[in-house]
Structure formats: C-alpha cells, structure tokens
C-alpha cells in the first residue's frame, strides 16, 4: 500500500469519528468505563502484590544454635544449612547482637535487660533466607533435624496463613482482571458492531466500486484504534489524579511500617501505558471483528 493511501485512510477514519458523533461517544464511553474499572483494579492488585512481596521478603528462619556447640560445630552446621538447595543466604548473628536487638526493640522497657549483658542467656543465631519465600516451612523443618540446633523459628502458623492469603488474593485478582478484560472487549466490539451495522450499506457500495477488503478495513481499523486511545484518556487522568492523592494521604501513614505502596513515578506512567495499549487493543480488535462479516458482498 502506498503512503498516500495510508494518509487517506487516516483522514477518512478521523472524519468518520466526527461524523458518527453519538456512536463515537458511545464507543468511547464504553472504553472509558471499562478501562477505569480495569485500571482501578489493576492499581489495587499491583499494590497488594507489592505488599505481599515485601512481607514475603521479610520472612526469615531463625536457627537458634545449641549453646553447647563450639566454633567448629557451628561452622559445620552453617555448611549443612547452606547445602540445602532452596537456601539463599545464611547469616551469623552472635548472641550479643541478638541481645542488642532485643533491648532496642523493647525501647524504654528494654533497659531492664541490660543486666543480662554479663551473662547472656540468648543463643547465637543463624538467620536463613530462602530463594522462594514459600519454601520457608519446608526448609525450616529440614534444619530442625540437624545437629546442634536448639530451636527453629519462622513465625510458625502465621507464615502459612499469610502465604495462603496472598496466594488466594493473587488468584482472585488475576481472574477478575481477565474477566474485566473480556467484558471490555465484548462491550466495545458490540458498540463498534452497531456503528458498523449502521454503515453496512457503505461497505457494500465500497465493494461494488471495486474496493478491496483491505482498503475497506483500514479506516475501520484506525477508527477502532482512535476510539480505544480516546477512551483511555479519561481513565488515565482519573487514575493518575486519584493515585497521586491517595499516595499523598496514605504514604506518610505507612512510614515506619513494613507496608510500602508503589511510588507515583514510575508506577502511574506504567499504568497509563498499559491502559493506552489496552484501549488500542480492544478498539482495534472490536472493529476488525465486527467489520469482517460484512465484507463478503
């Protein structure tokens, strides 16, 4: 196809958008509404995922080493733990440091424990991190069996529940996003189908004067593209502004907690890109599917 012809199709598609005022409005609104839904949901999902990730990363196994173990035996225990394939890192934390941490974490009340500095009752500890957080339980059980292990702690019970919750939340999220995506395509292809049925006569005339299917399809293809992109503008503005406000409001409140939301930049730009892409995709897909059945004249 000649560049001149592509230019013609582009002009034609823009003209059509203007001429079919109400239909354009209907299609763009359908895209807008669905993309706002998809967008809001996507933002929530991504942040949940982020929170889940931070929580998961914080999960560690604390291996309390038997006080009876000497340096060499400690070393062999470390090697034994490191040889487990799911283990990412093993860090040694001496009991003096453990006591410091404990004192710090208790604040004012912790000062009482300072007395123990002379005769520290705590164990030396190996802090073990796994490559995949979900392997924690299994690795912990394996370490328990090793020699010179006094106790293994990883938030027994809580971690299992947390992982279950995160997994369920993710699955529900994925299913909902896929569901919304198809609803959007259905809605938009229906709206565009109506605009095309209204122009069935036009398509027939084009065929009669010798236009090829490709020639007829192009303006519709581009029209779908513009409709999709137009429809994604409002959702991007709404979501961008809402996220900006929400981030301003929630951000400070979460300071100091382990929960972190995704920062405005670059997250909102990424979401905008995804929304434009989705709008374009459903617009094009909807129009191409709808025009197809009128081309056999």
């Amino acid at each position: 196809m000649k560049i001149r012809t592509i230019g013609r199709h582009a002009r034609e598609s823009i003209k059509n958008i203007k001429r079919n005022g109400w239909m354009t409005f209907a299609s763009v609104s359908a895209v807008t509404v669905t993309l706002i839904l998809v967008g809001v949901f996507f933002v929530i999902m991504m942040n949940l995922n982020r929170v889940a990730q931070t929580i998961e990363q914080d999960v560690e196994i604390r291996v309390h080493i038997d006080v009876a173990a000497n340096k060499q035996q400690q070393q062999s225990l470390k090697s034994e733990i490191e040889s487990i394939s799911e283990v990412k890192s093993v860090e040694f934390s001496p009991k003096t440091k453990e006591l410091d941490n404990l004192v710090k974490s208790l604040g004012e009340d912790g000062k009482a424990f300072k007395l123990f500095e002379q005769d520290n009752p705590l164990n030396d500890v190996f802090i073990v991190k796994t490559k995949k957080p979900t392997d924690t339980m299994q690795v912990a059980k394996q370490i328990e069996k090793a020699n010179y292990v006094a106790k293994v702690k990883y938030g027994q019970g809580k971690v299992e529940k947390l992982f279950k919750f995160i997994k369920a939340a993710r699955n529900v999220g994925v299913v909902l996003i896929i569901g919304l995506f198809f609803t959007a395509i259905f809605l938009i292809s229906n709206t565009i189908k109506i605009t095309i049925i209204a122009r069935r006569r036009e398509i027939k005339i084009m065929r009669l004067v010798g236009a090829t299917n490709t020639f007829i399809r192009w303006p519709f293809f581009l029209e779908g593209l513009w409709l999709g992109i137009l429809g994604s503008i409002l959702p991007i503005i709404v979501i961008g502004m809402a996220y900006y406000r929400a981030y301003d409001y929630i951000g400070p409140k979460l300071q100091g907690t382990f929960i972190k939301v995704l920062p405005f930049d670059p997250f909102v730009y990424q979401v905008s890109g995804i929304l434009i892409l989705m709008g374009a995709l459903i617009g094009v897909w909807g129009s191409v599917m709808s025009v197809r059945k009128f081309l056999r004249v």
Partner: protein, 228 residues
Amino acid sequence: MIEMQEVYKKYPNGVTAINGIDVRINQGEFVYVVGPSGAGKSTFIKMMYREEMPSSGTITLNGVNLAKLRMKKVPLFRRNLGVVFQDFKLLPSLTVYENVAFALEVIEAQPKFIRKRVMEVLDLVGLKHKIKMLPTELSGGEQQRVSIARSIVNSPKVVIADEPTGNLDPETSWDIMNIFEEVNRRGTTIVMATHNREIVNTIKHRVIAIEAGKIARDEQRGEYGYEN
C-alpha cells in the same frame, strides 16, 4: 464484450430465475434489457457484475470468466466495470466530488490525475458547480448523475445500469438518457435494464426481452413491447 453461454440460475429457495440464456453483446453496443417484473431481468444484470453467481454455464465479461472468478479477485474485476443503480448507491457521508473520486482512490491513482479526471466527468454530467454538496442536498436526477459520473470515472469498457431512471420523473429521465447516450458515443458498452417504455421506443437500440428466465426477443432497434 459480454458473453453468456448456457446460463442457469437457481436460488437456494428453489426459484429458477434464469433458465438457459445464451447471449453475446459486442463492444460499443447499447442494449436495453426489458421484461415483466419477476422475469429474471435483475438476476441477469446482477450476474454481470458478479453480485450473483450462475448455478451453471459461463459468463465472460472483459475476458474474465465470472463463474470461476475467486472472491478475492472480485474487486479488481469491478474496477473495469461501471455500475449504476436505481437507488444511486452513493456514500451519504461523502460530497459529490468525494463520491466520484472514491472509485479512483481505491485503485490508488495519482492525486493529480484524480482531480483532473473527476472534474472531467462531473463536467460531462453537468455537476461541476455542485462538487461540495452532499448527496442528501441533491435532487434524485442530480444524484443519479453523480452515480453515472462515478461509474465512468475509471473509463470502463462496460457500464451496467439497473433501472437507472426508475426513481426519476420523465423529464429528468431524458437528461439521464442523454448522458448515457454520450457515454455510449465515446465507445462504452451500455447494458440497461429498464421499465421505461417511452425511452426504449424513442431512443432506439438493441432490445433483449427476458420472460420466465429466457430470452423471449432479441432485436436490433427493437420496441419495448409491454403494456406499462
């Protein structure tokens, strides 16, 4: 040149519209196709621009065997053929100029050539002064003139017209006929289905009469031959 051999057309609902037609129309001829309603005129015409396919037999137009023409090649075939309809079939959203130019745009002609050629044919049909109007702003006769301009803008060898004056008043019909006459004088074959007795009997040309799916008469400088 148009040639039909042993052509039959039976619709899926069992109606036989064309029941064995053999005919030959030479380059430069002007042919009226007449006959009572439901006799198969419309099917006869539609098969020529490949809107209908024959059930059996061969139809050759401009050297193309339409019975074997693949769907994909239909647009290319139609570019060498002009078609004029009773209801004009103009694109309602395009201006007079754009409607005519459209037939050249689909073949990706040079813009310069399009401008020149479109103005030429609009001049021929006498609508040079209304190029910016939309079809809805024109009278029936004017719309039909746009439709004729569109059908000849590609300089086709054959123009097929299905009741082109069917929706027009008598006076406008004569104007339209004058344009067809002029197009024919320039060497284009014209096949026109019509119910207009006065025109057929006044502007004398070959008449093919179709009755019950067969050719009942085929006369040079014939008569309409039916009561209206």
